[in-house]
Amino acid sequence: MTDLPPPPQATGRLLDAQLHLLDRSVVDRNDVPVTTVDALEITDIELDAPIPRGAPAPVITALLSGPVLATRIFGGRPPRSRLERIRWSDVTDIGIVLKLSVDGDSLAVTWVERWMRDKIIARIPGGHHDPE
């Protein structure tokens, strides 16, 4: 397929962002689906400035999720302010899904769902309890 040499062996598990992280489902510590990974936040790279040799490489600081349907169809991406963060330090497992160590209800990314539950669903008769 290719005659190129393999890269020097890394000291940990390798993850390709598009292949292993982006678009993956995220579940909370109770395996309840929370969201999907729409983008990744990494430590800043100074634009238009030379990167010194040996400078620390960027690291992932957060998973980002938000309203990306329109931008995927028409291009671009939502403003940074519309993307909700899930701290990378809350990620405990990376596999078919990304698993978190926290409850989904504690995350800003689920605020629409919580608002719908508390303000609308709860006011419907029978909306306070599980279906029977």
């Binding site: 397929m1 290719t2 190129l4 040499p5 393999p6 890269p7 020097p8 062996q9 890394a10 000291t11 940990g12 598990r13 390798l14 993850l15 390709d16 962002a17 598009q18 292949l19 292993h20 983008a39 990744l40 936040e41 990494i42 430590t43 800043d44 790279i45 634009l47 238009d48 400035a49 030379p50 990167i51 040799r53 040996g54 490489a57 960027p58 690291v59 992932i60 980002l64 991406r77 940074r80 993307l83 990378w88 330090s89 990620v91 405990t92 497992d93 990376i94 596999g95 078919i96 160590s101």
Partner: protein
């Protein structure tokens, strides 16, 4: 910074020759001194936390800015017709280490003098960790 801003950038070498676009970003989980357990396969858990994910390098494609199933990074070769099409689309794809990136601008990424091209494929693991 949002990682998605790096993906799709035009890549140039030190002489200003265009090499392609950033197809993906490869991270190493654990990082130096915090190597992931040897048997940490996808879905098997990565310990109490996933650990630091450090940018290890970039996958650059001269002909495409989209990955399509990761055929160029995994030892998948069937169905043959799909493999042939994607192999052709991703011909010339290579991997460069992040240390070899000299400068990033809003639209371009420049590599250092003497950068080396490596095989973009993920190293095989007995557990099939690299599978998407």
């Amino acid at each position: 910074m949002i990682l998605n801003d790096l993906l799709g950038l035009d890549v140039f070498d030190d002489r200003g020759e265009r090499l392609g676009k950033v197809l993906d970003a490869r991270f190493v989980l654990g990082g130096p001194g915090r190597a992931a357990p040897a048997g940490a396969a996808a879905g098997a858990g990565a310990g109490a936390g996933a650990g630091e994910a450090r940018l290890e390098g970039l996958i650059i494609s001269p002909h495409s800015r989209h990955s399509y199933l990761g055929y160029e990074r995994l030892d998948m070769n069937s169905p043959a017709i799909i493999n042939a099409i994607l192999g052709w689309l991703h011909r010339g794809t290579f991997y460069v280490q992040w240390d070899m990136v000299e400068r990033v601008t809003a639209h371009e990424l420049h590599l250092r003098t003497g950068y080396r091209r490596f095989d973009p494929r993920l190293p095989p693991t007995p557990e099939g960790e690299g599978r998407p």
